[in-house]
Subunit: 248 residues, 2 copies
């Protein structure tokens, strides 16, 4: 699964850019999900008086509305972004205004403003692309509607499979924190396989003790397990697999 | 997690009963989720013109609205009920109008109607409870608002931990299909541990969600893993095996 985020202030053209990206990805046959970060403090998806609304008022935490057309699961509070993403199995997820994930960024701003770029920025778009310049500080400036094919080509070529965002105290085996690693990956200074977690490190504990395995044995064990698990309902790519049992 | 469903026609008092159950469970300190089955063919949770609505119109499949107050994940189509339930971690889930799960049922109907009970029915409620009779065909008739404490006592004592609903072709080790097993459990003719799937064995989690397996598949997975693990230093019989990894 590949994930990007589009960042910019209100009125800078984020949603329009995202519409262009989603419709072009869909045209090319990809499955696409989206996530919108909402800053309105009074935001409520549900409608006052509906049965689901009455459930929540009575005290229900998670509430679902399930119909033939759609299934809507309403969680209380703000779920961590990687938890939200774990519910997706689409080829691409396009996020709007989400800042707490380590993913490539497309920056939007108004014509007269200066784009606020970061080491994770791969392009500038939104209303700024109405200007004549086709480049800003070495980054391409792309019109999200008229040039959405070009923008999608760039997204497909630049975006790596979703990477973890691990506390550097727990893992910096590649030599960097995850954000720095992604910025280096975008500059092609490292390869995605240099991330040990992406490599598919498998952890095996016997009675609580970590058992080291050479990559050859790791791969055998992983492939054996995936051979079975992939056939089960609930499995999707990029899943965290956890198995526990007591041996005879 | 314990799950029940409240069934009855429109206007029979389902939502009022559920409000009584949820608020009483919350008073007692439980976490509670709810699921509402919606039959309206034009149902849409989102509002025309909103950014999330524009994402969906552009072709997005799963769409999330994420704010400080709530995180709403909108899936296209009707998710299987056990998939919906796998997203819950509450102590209790109260379902309204959901008929495709093997769980105890509370039946509601109007005063002048006859309750349509099944072997999974544990109580009659809704407007029917305005009648004088406190029993119908051996089942308690309970007012969901005035007597919600009594109704919740009954739910807590009767409802088993959520059971699977497996095709009897794949598993009928207890001698029954899952629906018959639950009806016998409600009559105390069997125990929950008579269900081989409940007994435990191997636990498989994908992205944190427990994946139920029939014994046949459990054994394949366990034997595949042991085939490799038994060859490693550190293995002995009766060991706790724990494996974690991220799939590609």
């Amino acid at each position: 699964m590949k994930v990007i985020t589009v960042l910019g202030l209100t009125g800078s053209g984020k949603t329009t850019v995202i519409e262009g990206i989603i419709s072009e990805l869909k045209k090319r046959g990809y499955t696409v999900g989206s996530i919108k970060q909402i800053h309105n403090e009074n935001f409520k998806m549900d409608t006052e008086g509906k049965n689901t609304w009455r459930h929540r008022q009575a005290g229900a935490d998670t509430v679902t509305a399930r119909s033939h057309q759609e299934t809507d699961i309403l969680y209380p509070g703000e779920l961590p972004i990687y938890e939200v993403l774990s519910h997706y199995s689409e080829d691409f997820v396009i996020m709007e205004g989400v800042r707490d994930a380590v993913v490539p960024e497309i920056i939007t701003c108004k014509e007269e403003e200066l784009p606020v770029i970061s080491p994770l920025t791969i392009a500038i778009s939104g209303r700024y692309a109405n200007n004549k310049d086709k480049e800003y500080k070495g980054l391409p400036v792309i019109n999200g509607t008229l040039e959405n094919k070009h923008l999608v080509d760039l997204i497909i070529s630049k975006t790596p499979v979703l990477m973890p965002d691990i506390d550097p105290k727990c893992c910096s085996k590649c030599g960097y924190d995850c954000r720095t690693f992604l910025s280096k990956l975008l500059k092609e200074e490292v390869k995605q396989d240099d991330c040990v977690l992406r490599k598919g490190g498998i952890s095996l504990r016997i009675n609580g003790d970590e058992i080291p395995m050479v990559p050859f044995v790791e791969n055998i064990l992983k492939n054996e397990i995936l051979g079975v698990v992939k056939e089960l309902k609930g499995y999707k790519n990029n899943s965290n697999i956890e198995i526990k049992f007591l041996s005879d």
